[in-house]
């Protein structure tokens, strides 16, 4: 399996685990008390932090792993870890474009929610869902691209 394909799997599974847990937990809260009483801000700060951390750790982790492999004398061709070549970059760029569409849809949805007077709880979570789905869409696209060929 290509090095960057492994990275996409790790990102995707981490996202499903972390946000699966978060949204299940949140749904429990929504079902048990009025939304206005849920102290969602504190949770949301943490979850946004986790999202940023996941993305940064993923990117930096791959960078460090690749750099250490280069130090050990391993090259692009060794399949272990490497700087991205032009095909890796093209796949990544397409993934970013796809993620951009997902975020845009979420932003428009949030805009309509605000205009319709929805509570901040729903607007904030619509945006969080958009950000999470955007990262997941990118990971899924990368898996498909590396699997089926690009």
């Amino acid at each position: 399996m290509a090095f960057r394909e492994q990275g996409a799997w790790v990102t995707l599974l981490a996202m499903i685990a972390v946000y699966g847990w978060y949204f299940l937990d949140l749904m429990g809260a929504v079902n048990s008390q009025p939304v206005a009483e849920i102290d969602y801000q504190a949770r949301l700060y943490i979850m946004v932090g986790v999202l940023v951390a996941l993305i940064i750790v993923g990117q930096v982790g791959i960078g460090i792993y690749a750099a250490s492999s280069v130090e050990k004398g391993l090259e692009l061709a060794d399949d272990i870890a490497s700087e991205a070549d032009e095909r890796d970059k093209a796949i990544s760029t397409r993934g970013d474009a796809l993620g951009g569409y997902v975020v845009a849809i979420g932003a428009v949805a949030a805009m309509f929610e605000v205009m319709a007077g929805w509570q901040g709880f729903w607007v904030a979570h619509t945006l969080l869902v958009a950000l999470v789905l955007s990262e997941m869409a990118k990971s899924v696209w990368m898996l498909i691209a590396y699997r089926r060929g690009f």
């Binding site: 060794d78 399949d79 095909r87």
Partner: protein, 72 residues
Amino acid sequence: MVKPTRITNAIRQLRFAADEMTQAELARRVGVTRQTILAIEQGKYSPSLEVAFRIAATFKVPLEQVFQYPNV
């Protein structure tokens, strides 16, 4: 999903002729990953001109001997 390319290539034959050079070795000389060489060889990925010329240079042949495009 991925637009099929009409470009064909003779990389496999050229590798065979070049002392059965491995995909990894070709990748090393060209400066891309082995997966990229594999994708190019299978016609799934059309490389940049830069990489195309580096492949040709590795085999010391003109570009047209590596990649072909059908006459429309």
